[in-house]
Symmetry: C2
Subunit: 349 residues, 2 copies
């Protein structure tokens, strides 16, 4: 898909400046806070004086974070932006700008990079953020993406990881484990397709694939918090799996936690695929990762504000540190939670 073919344009034909011009031609500025976009030594941002600036950067590496055998480049671009915006939402902040830097080998054509940027621009449109800068260079092997997301929030609304309190309710948005099951299905179907020379079968797996290949960040939840006057006591986005994230909140807040297995929101497609592949749905939900849902805590007194919201599940409560971090299995047995989160550094070949 990304190999140079006769009718495609090699990167070296254009050179860096023309390539940047071509890739950034569709770019538009949406936010008044973007004073200067692409085209200078730096971009310039102007947030109102009552706003603080939040900022995050992630690297996405071909073969580690994405696989071009499954994932169209347009989806890679979209997902790369979304996973960074998710970090901004996890601060209860509003993203308004991104920087995108790309290193690619000469295996990629100009047209391939245009596909990547199509996905980036789609995410910018969907989340109303501006692409304001970055870098384009070459790599010896494969594609590397670096995305920086910048956002704003008034100081009293910013939510950290280390501020959960004993007895707070633990909540998650959406459902868990679907992205991980999507990846398992993609791996399996790829193998079968190679062995049998047939087309993969994606019946009844569409939700899993969407969650893995083209996830969304929970912009809607941050808007809901504003509307309902909810400020979580702590919050984190679920990128490495629920186990890992609840441990971050508890360790940083010096608390324990109790999670109830029966309360974990798991989509029917996730359950079906897990059963089909002899995996335990709870394991996918706890340790799968890449859900990009929000895990947050609120005081018990705020329960009324969220109890009727479809998008939010109460899955447990914060406990004292000495009580540990446990999941209560469906049969009532408490099981200590250990970090089994997705570890990029162990995923080497």
């Amino acid at each position: 898909m990304s190999e140079n073919k006769k009718n495609l344009t090699e990167l070296s034909e254009l050179g860096e400046f023309l390539l940047i011009n071509k890739l950034t031609a569709p770019n538009i500025t949406r936010n008044a806070s973007t004073l200067k976009s692409i085209g200078d030594d730096c971009a310039v941002i102007n947030y109102a004086s009552d706003q603080k600036t939040v900022i995050t950067n992630d690297l996405l590496v071909e073969g580690i974070h994405f696989n071009l055998q499954y994932s169209p480049l347009k989806y890679v671009g979209y997902k790369a932006v979304v996973v960074n915006l998710s970090d901004v939402y996890a601060m209860n902040a509003k993203p308004e700008q991104i920087l995108v830097s790309v290193a690619v080998s000469n295996r990629f054509s100009v047209e391939a990079l245009e596909e990547l940027y199509k996905g980036i621009y789609e995410a910018c449109e969907e989340y109303k953020v501006d692409l304001i800068g970055g870098d384009t260079t070459s790599s010896k092997l494969g594609m590397f993406l670096s995305i920086t997301a910048i956002g704003k929030a008034p100081i009293e609304k910013i939510v950290y990881r280390n501020t959960a309190n004993n007895k707070d309710l633990i909540c998650v948005t959406g459902d868990l484990g679907a992205s991980y099951m999507g990846l398992q299905v993609l791996e399996r179907e790829k193998k079968i397709a190679i062995e049998t020379q047939t087309q993969p079968n994606w019946d009844e797996k569409d939700y899993l694939l969407q969650r893995q290949l083209r996830p969304e960040a929970r912009k809607d939840i941050i808007e809901l918090f504003a509307e309902k006057n909810i400020i979580p006591t702590s919050m984190i986005d679920i990128s490495d799996g629920l186990s890992s994230e609840i441990m971050h909140i508890c360790n940083l807040s010096k608390t324990g936690a109790v999670i109830y297995e029966e309360r974990l929101p798991i989509h029917q497609q996730t359950k079906d695929a897990a059963n089909e592949m002899n995996l335990i749905p709870t394991t996918a939900a706890m340790n799968g990762g890449e859900d990009y849902e929000l895990l947050f805590t609120i005081p018990l007194s705020e329960h009324d504000k969220i109890k009727d919201l479809d998008q939010i599940s109460v899955i447990g409560h914060i406990a004292q540190q000495k009580e540990g971090i446990n999941i209560i299995a469906i049969d009532g047995t408490p099981v200590p939670i250990t970090a089994q989160g997705w570890n990029a550094l162990l995923n080497e070949e």
Copy 2:
């Protein structure tokens, strides 16, 4: 140097979270504007309400932007930060924060990454910036660094590339071409050392090596501008070579320019090394790149403020667009300047 040896620690022995803890243990916060540093979904920055935010990101790729055969990892870390801060100074702004993301293959040890971060922390100390976030992940091959630098300036002090005016004086800081000659010397000495099994000879090349391996950004010039009440009409940092940068300023400002070859500031070591290697010093100065000096324009009326400053050379003046962009050779011949800047995308293997 970066290979795993018996007494070194493999990355997989630690895992991502412990590695991040180890690498960030020496980190300190210097600036009051850093509200939240490493350890949450985002960092949080709080600039005073009269300040705008400037931001830039660069990727540095092993084998393209740095070569671990010449360059100790500590220098790679230092230089990676400096080249990004240079972009902030080029806006006439003050950098206060950086984000650092690293992707490495399992060829690197924990100790190798600690060396890299030593250089990063040295740059933070020297330039008084805070390391506030980033990402650590694996790559299939080699090392990739992504540095985001964030700084501040009041809006009336921010200097862009597209605002040079006809008849403005064109100035550069420091001297040009030394970094490029440093690279040539390193390449040559490496070859000789391999062929003859001898140690490289760096006599009288120390300045060139320092400029290539451990350059500095012109923090001092921005401070001088403030002290002398100078606001350039346009500015850019010289990363791709003077030719390329003057073309950026002229094309964006819709002007021409005249540069005088005899005015180009070239260090004696640069001249000597160029002569020794049958290269033309002016070519190194115009097209070499990686100088990280500032190229700026000021109105003729401001000449008195800079004429006695050692750090600044007036090398020409802005002209009308129709006059083109020319360098007047020492013999008086005008030669059109074309972009021969260092092009990362053409440097592929």
